[in-house]
Symmetry: C2
Subunit: 686 residues, 2 copies
């Protein structure tokens, strides 16, 4: 630190092991122990300096990206999305680092030796009586040894993939869950689940098989220089099937595009991240335990499905449980008197979900997603006003930084990653395969869903979903996780190119595509679409559309009727300060427990209803209507509220509306908006 | 990930190098390459799982700490401070990890060999035709090899010291700068600088020399088993001289203790962190380049002083420059329309200061401290309202988490750190030395300062400062930075014990000590002390106290009069949207530049004054008064405002008060508090 411009010491010295002995590379310098200590200190200093520089590179990259994003937003440039921009800057810096930085040291070639055993994770080396510990960094392909030797800086900017999984992904996914518009999400839940689970599995399977064909072809023409198993192809399918929520979310949020389309795309991409993770780890688990059985095996396949379901439900449970624990803690302690402590606790609990799931062998991403949803639904209500805005803002900033960091890093990785294997045949094959895989996933599934859905997914929506299947951070994170073998390296390089292509083309093309497909934009996502200017309905040219819409609600209703009443009567009162007192909802023999669990606030102000609640009450309103009259006469045009339907729904939500009315004095503005939101869905039945 | 309870694979396999050959430890498992790949995958999985568990350990520790902190705050427990609590939890978990976790694998003893050369940072090992890269983790003392072998978990929770320096310290220090109460800080700046610079140097030198005596003694009685140079002793002095701002800040903030005492202690501890860092790196730099010259050398000493001054001013400049750049960027772009981008930029720029300074060979801590002050003074004014609260809250949360993490980690390190050397003589010597060092630093310096100060530092303040010299995160971070040699390991272990002792004793004893010394608490730190209940003055029994107080202000005034007018007339208008237009303050020939640099807002509302400004205007108010009348007749009792003095000061700050009055409609509440703050200091002259 003290003397910045001290000549760079040769940092990367190779100790080469021969079968018969130890051969050390030559090193200039003194021989006394004092000198050695000094040299070690200087080296540590130099290493620290380089760490700083590599981090600084990323930070400056991000700063540059932010400034350019601002410029783009300011000038309303839409042809390139901010994530694409981050990647371009990453690419440029990667090129500079790759070709612009001097080599740190030049050494003689590594000594060849053959040793039968496999490498160890830790080496303990005894040098002049002192023991030094070395840890395994990874394999280096023989052709790349020179690069490794020569450019220390490149090694520094190549992050540990663990960083992606443990540090960068959780805030992104948590934010997605925490800021999820639950209403639209749940309204389309059936379709979302179908797209995410079935669709991703179909896509994975199709891509995997197509790629296996490509690999066979490559073997035939002699383009393949190492092993590439069937399971590797399936793994590639799993990696590349995950569409990215990031860009979709950003663009659709900005344009206020159709809420249903948004919900479908966002829901699919958020959940299929999770599905892809679980799929890829299932495939790894399903890899044969014996030799030479990287082929397909029915028993192993079903085992894999079992593993898949186990992991998914386990992760889901873990996320929900942590969310519930946080809700209970924030409810029963008076932590809200200290917003800082509260925010910190909230942050830590949410992050620990991720780590807990990973430590138990589940997938953290799934867990953290459902944790986010649970936190938004329950814990958020218990937080102090300050903590609410603080947690939202904190995760927003973290999400933003992590996301841009990942995209910058992707750009950088194209040039700084040491083990790229670009195979033109494989890459072209992969592009064709993901196109076909996406098509085979969207169109047939939409057709099947439309058979059941009254509110059809229109062709324009299907085309948009087909187009929006861009691959992003998750595919990259999955691919970089294991780059030890030839096949994985090739998969990583191809994934990187696919991510670049889709982010640039799809990210930039979303706006033109939306207008070309006549999908309406400029909708307030917090409101139901006003029935008068619903271009989607107009496009379908279906007069009975709103009738269908209502029946769609009825259909999805049975899924949630039970859940909602359970949630409203038991979970909300237990986990938050709102809802009816448990003493009224629980059977009388539970009196003591009910009194313990119900917070005193509930008795004082049963009316305490937060925004999240009104979201759900809205759903309730919809549901109630569907109980009451399933034969609907009016079409989608707005009309005056009918007293009967109003009363009908009021029967269920009387307490909540009373609450709103009582609240009026306290927060005029908010209640007004709540009011309109409560009234809106009833217009369909006028 | 797929199968959680798979048996733990032996992870730590030792490859032992003998002089004549290579001897590998045995390993169970198949020999086929497919099996090997699978095993590697499983191992990577297992390693990932362990990473998660180790992070989870810390997060659960922090969660527990937060809950207990809340309980303590709720019950108003004061005998143990939260940082002490975090350490205790850390200790408990450390004990569990140390003695409670099973050994992962048992291996045969390492093979002894002697090799003349020193260890390399990277090993390249050729195993069956594939190259694997290993990086140096550090030296292991021969006695500890068994522990290393047996407990992989302990290694996992032992963090890289770089993490402390690059990730955890910057937010803590930045927050200190960003939330600094500038007024009290600047009022005592002279004394603070004296304590921080002179005092720390004196303390370092005294402790270093005392410890050298202890080391000599140890050599005499045969307690020393390896080399311990004079420079090592001085380094220990530098490491242990840094008092910690963390606990002082927390306790004093909570109790609202005397603002001047708070300013002195906080200012000293913040700046002496920086001084200690610079001192310790100067000492490393000043270590002889030849052999056997770890003794004192006058030329080298002056070189060291030069290095010290160079590093300090360089770091200061770097911090200020980054702050100014951020201010310019936020002023001249319309980034405030996108608060998220703005916050992200602010965050990145502030962090990059740290890294930039480290990369250039300066000290990041000093840079980030002054960056924080600059950001608070200029950039803060340019931010959107949302970004202001967001940046404050973001750094508050980060600071809180980082701080508690460091203290938990310290507790943990006592048991999980592998290279402890506890020497009772050295430890007792160190405790005596820091006591004497602190005494030799506080009392003589206070005496000298009191010669110059009109507003004396009372005995009770001196005793409190003597008592509050607790060592914390910075000492730990400095000590853990280099634990390669015997002397450094002993220093690290001793530092850890000193930190424990001082945090527990001093942290817990602050409140009793304050009341024992009759130092008043419950003062609003945003206000000047109301003269009526100034126990400090009462204790001094000095009737002319307030007269002195005003003359103190006059004295410190000359330091800032020039600076303030420069800042107000040129820097503020250039860097923010406030202050007088440059067109009026710059000479006419600079007209073009002035017009370019002055933002249009300034012309529209020259009155635009933020809270930070009123802080400074308050200073200005004080200064104005001291220009006007230096002979003061009244004593400290409060009285009605005299019209003349009011007018006197109004002459200077007329525009600002007009601004405030005009603002009244917009934000009643805030303006009222501003108003009182503006009026308060004038009471002294009533």
């Amino acid at each position: 630190m003290a003397e910045p411009l001290r000549r760079r010491l040769p940092l990367l010295l190779l100790l080469l092991l021969a079968a018969g002995g130890l051969r050390a590379a030559e090193r200039s310098g003194g021989s006394s122990s004092a000198m050695e200590e000094l040299a070690t200190e200087k080296e540590a200093e130099e290493s620290h300096r380089q760490d700083s520089v590599s981090l600084l590179t990323f930070i400056l990259l991000l700063t540059l990206t932010i400034l350019t994003i601002w410029l783009f937003k300011h000038r309303r440039v839409r042809f390139l999305h901010e994530t694409g921009l981050a990647m371009i800057y990453g690419l440029i810096v990667g090129v500079i680092l790759r070709y612009g930085t001097p080599s740190t040291s030049g050494h003689d070639k590594p000594f060849s030796c053959s040793q039968e055993d496999r490498p160890f994770t830790t080496l303990l080396v005894n040098v002049s009586g002192k023991f030094f510990e070395y840890t395994l960094k990874g394999e280096i392909s023989p052709g790349k040894i020179h690069n490794v030797e020569q450019n220390d800086m490149l090694r520094k900017v190549t992050f540990d993939p663990e960083v992606f999984f443990n540090i960068l992904l959780p805030p992104i996914i948590f934010h997605a869950g925490y800021s999820l518009k639950k209403r639209h999400f749940f309204r389309n839940l059936g379709s979302i689940l179908a797209y995410a689970f079935l669709g991703t599995a179909v896509s994975c399977f199709i891509i995997g098989n197509l790629m296996y064909g490509v690999v066979k072809l490559m073997k035939l023409v002699g383009q393949l220089s190492d092993k590439f198993y069937y399971t590797d192809c399936l793994l590639f399918g799993a990696i590349i099937s995950a569409t990215d929520p990031v860009t979709v979310l950003a663009i659709f949020n900005e344009l206020h595009a159709d809420v249903d389309l948004y919900a479908l795309l966002f829901g699919e991409s958020v959940l299929n991240d999770a599905v892809a993770i679980v799929l890829s780890s299932s495939i790894v688990a399903y890899q044969p335990t014996g030799e030479n059985t990287h082929a397909f095996d029915a028993a192993a396949f079903f085992k894999s499905v079992g593993v898949f379901l186990g992991i998914f439900s386990g992760s889901f449970m873990m996320g929900a449980v942590t969310g519930v624990v946080t809700a209970l803690v924030t409810k029963f302690t008076k932590l809200h008197c200290f917003p800082l402590l509260e925010t910190a606790l909230f942050f830590l609990m949410s992050w620990s979900t991720f780590l807990l799931a990973e430590a138990c062998g589940f997938t953290g991403v799934v867990a953290v997603l459902f944790c986010g949803i649970t936190q938004a639904h329950y814990t958020y209500n218990n937080l102090s006003v300050e903590s609410r805005s603080r947690t939202k803002q904190l995760f927003e900033v973290l999400h933003f930084l992590a996301e841009n960091f990942i995209f910058s890093y992707m750009g950088l990785a194209l040039f700084t990653f040491q083990k790229h294997i670009f195979s033109p045949v494989f890459i072209i094959g992969a592009f064709v395969a993901i196109f076909l895989g996406r098509a085979a996933h969207i169109y047939p599934l939409s057709f099947l869903l439309n058979l059941g859905r009254r509110h059809k997914i229109s062709w324009s929506f299907q085309h948009m979903m087909m187009f929006s299947g861009l691959r992003g951070a998750m595919a990259f994170a999955l691919a970089i996780r294991d780059t030890a073998t030839y096949s994985h390296q090739m998969m990583f390089s191809t994934t990187l190119l696919i991510v670049f292509f889709t982010v640039w083309i799809v990210g930039g093309g979303t706006t033109p595509m939306l207008s070309w497909l006549n999908i309406r934009v400029g909708v307030d996502p917090d409101q139901d679409p006003p029935p008068t200017n619903d271009s989607f309905q107009v496009l379908q040219g279906d007069g009975q559309d709103s009738a269908r819409r209502n029946r769609t609600k009825q259909e999805s209703a049975w899924l949630f009727r039970l859940w909602y009443s359970f949630d409203h009567n038991y979970l909300k009162p237990i986990l938050t300060h709102s809802g009816p007192p448990l003493t009224t909802t629980l059977p009388s023999w539970c009196g003591l427990i009910a009194r313990c669990l119900t917070s005193p606030q509930v008795y004082d102000n049963q009316e305490q209803l937060r925004e999240e609640d009104s979201d759900f009450i809205l759903n309730d309103g919809d549901l109630t209507v569907t109980y009451g009259d399933t034969t609907i006469t009016a079409n989608g045009s707005s009309g005056p509220h009918t007293a009967t339907t109003n009363l009908d729904s009021r029967r269920k939500k009387s307490s909540s509306e009373e609450a709103l009315e009582r609240d009026l004095g306290a927060a005029d503005h908010e209640v007004t908006s709540r009011g309109t939101r409560l009234v809106f869905p009833l217009e369909y039945n006028a």
